[in-house]
């Protein structure tokens, strides 16, 4: 049977489909945001929520985040990062026994030693070769965000 190839981009998009823009931003910028929150004596979550709303970093329902949403989202991001860190540490122990060869994608990018992420960086992602393909507008039934109704989704807690 022929091997099915699923583009990695599709998997990444699918994996993040239920994540809010706010969550994705916090995950991607966790290092900076951690400093911001840590250095504030008592973080003004309402002001942060306003700033995120101004950048359209909305919650999972596409609504401007509230102070509480921002605080809870940051808590969830920290939990995710902690879990990743523990997982990376476990992998690190295993790698000490038998270090695997670098992934082919890293080799394909030329292997610039400066571009390799520091060990222990929980956000480290191996580089993939860049493949350009013509984009195509997704039809409404291809988009998980659209529920097919003619009105915006009602408010609900997940």
């Amino acid at each position: 049977m022929a091997k099915k190839i699923i583009p990695v981009e599709d998997l990444v998009a699918a994996a993040n489909a239920r994540r809010s823009p706010l969550y994705v931003w916090m995950l991607e910028n966790h290092a900076i945001f951690r400093v911001v929150v840590t250095e504030a004596i008592r973080p003004n979550w309402a002001a942060l929520a306003q700033r995120f709303a101004a950048e359209s970093l909305n919650d999972a329902d596409g609504k401007a985040p509230t102070a509480e949403t921002v605080r809870q989202t940051w808590w969830r991001v920290r939990k995710t990062l902690d879990a990743r860190q523990k997982s990376a540490a476990r992998r690190g122990q295993a790698q000490k026994v038998a270090p695997p060869p670098p992934p082919p994608a890293v080799q394909a990018m030329g292997g610039d030693p400066e571009s390799k992420e520091a060990p222990g960086d929980v956000t480290a992602v191996p580089r993939r070769p860049l493949i350009l393909k013509p984009a195509r507008a997704l039809a409404p039934d291809e988009n998980p965000q659209d529920d097919g109704s003619k009105l915006p989704k009602p408010f609900h807690r997940r």
């Binding site: 950048e55 596409g62 992420e117 580089r127 350009l132 195509r136 997704l138 988009n143 003619k150």
Partner: protein, 254 residues
């Protein structure tokens, strides 16, 4: 309406030039929330409706939403400066190899593209390989929205002849008319200097149901078919006005 100033400073309409198959690299600039991704969506949908393929590259590190609207959107693996710079390098190399048209959406106030473009004199490089560079600056009525245009223009980082200054009427909050809301922006020396060197102004009309379309991740074509009767009509009028506004510079667009 697209306009270009004459030597004397007056404004004239630009004649429509037929579409050409020249590949383009169109890069969006501006503060967060000024409509960069919306412009990419408009231009990508327009190109696709006409049967022209475009590659969408999303380097917006704070709000990468284009993948919700299009398939095969390319993004950097990681949002750190080094990764994004390497990714831009790979993107330009691949584009030159494929001679593809690319819409590149940079994040609000992003400095990585500016440094990258400056360091390799990107406009000159693209001209040499036969790719048309296009800069698209998204600007709201707030005078501070000109900060990124000022930064790019003063540093000469990415200032091709094909520069579009999009005045986004969707960002007018106090009910003023477009002409009045953008008076201050239009009088700014940076804005005037950009127009003088050949940039073109384009007014992006307001669409009342834009938020619903974004929330539901609809294409504009799909919105015209699936929203309520009145909103479908609003989208139809808006698309017609957008087409009219961009017609004079269609040869700069994908």
């Amino acid at each position: 309406m697209a306009r270009r100033p004459t030597e004397e400073g007056a404004v004239i309409e630009i004649d429509r030039v037929p579409d050409t198959p020249i590949p383009k690299l169109l890069v969006t600039h501006g503060r967060g929330g000024t409509g960069k991704s919306t412009c990419v969506r408009i231009l990508a949908e327009r190109a696709q409706a006409a049967g022209r393929s475009v590659v969408i590259a999303d380097a917006d590190r704070t709000n990468a939403t284009l993948a919700s609207f299009f398939s095969d959107v390319v993004r950097p693996d990681h949002p750190d400066d080094k990764t994004v710079t390497d990714w831009l390098d790979a993107l330009v190399n691949q584009q030159a190899e494929l001679m593809a048209t690319v819409l590149l959406d940079m994040g609000g106030g992003d400095q990585v593209f500016k440094r990258f473009a400056q360091s390799i004199e990107l406009v000159t490089l693209l001209d040499q390989v036969g790719i048309m560079p296009v800069a698209l600056h998204c600007i709201g009525p707030d005078i501070d929205d000109l900060s990124y245009l000022r930064d790019i223009e003063e540093s000469l980082a990415f200032c091709p002849t094909q520069t579009i200054l999009v005045l986004n009427e969707g960002l007018i909050k106090d009910g003023r008319l477009g002409e009045a809301a953008f008076t201050e922006v239009r009088a700014d020396p940076v804005y005037l200097a950009a127009l003088k060197r050949g940039a073109v102004e384009l007014v992006l009309p307001r669409l009342a149901c834009m938020q619903e379309i974004v929330t539901r991740r609809l294409s504009f074509a799909a919105a015209e078919k699936t929203l309520t009767l009145t909103n479908k009509h609003r989208v139809s009028i808006w698309r017609r006005d957008v087409d009219k506004a961009i017609a004079p510079i269609s040869h700069w667009l994908p």
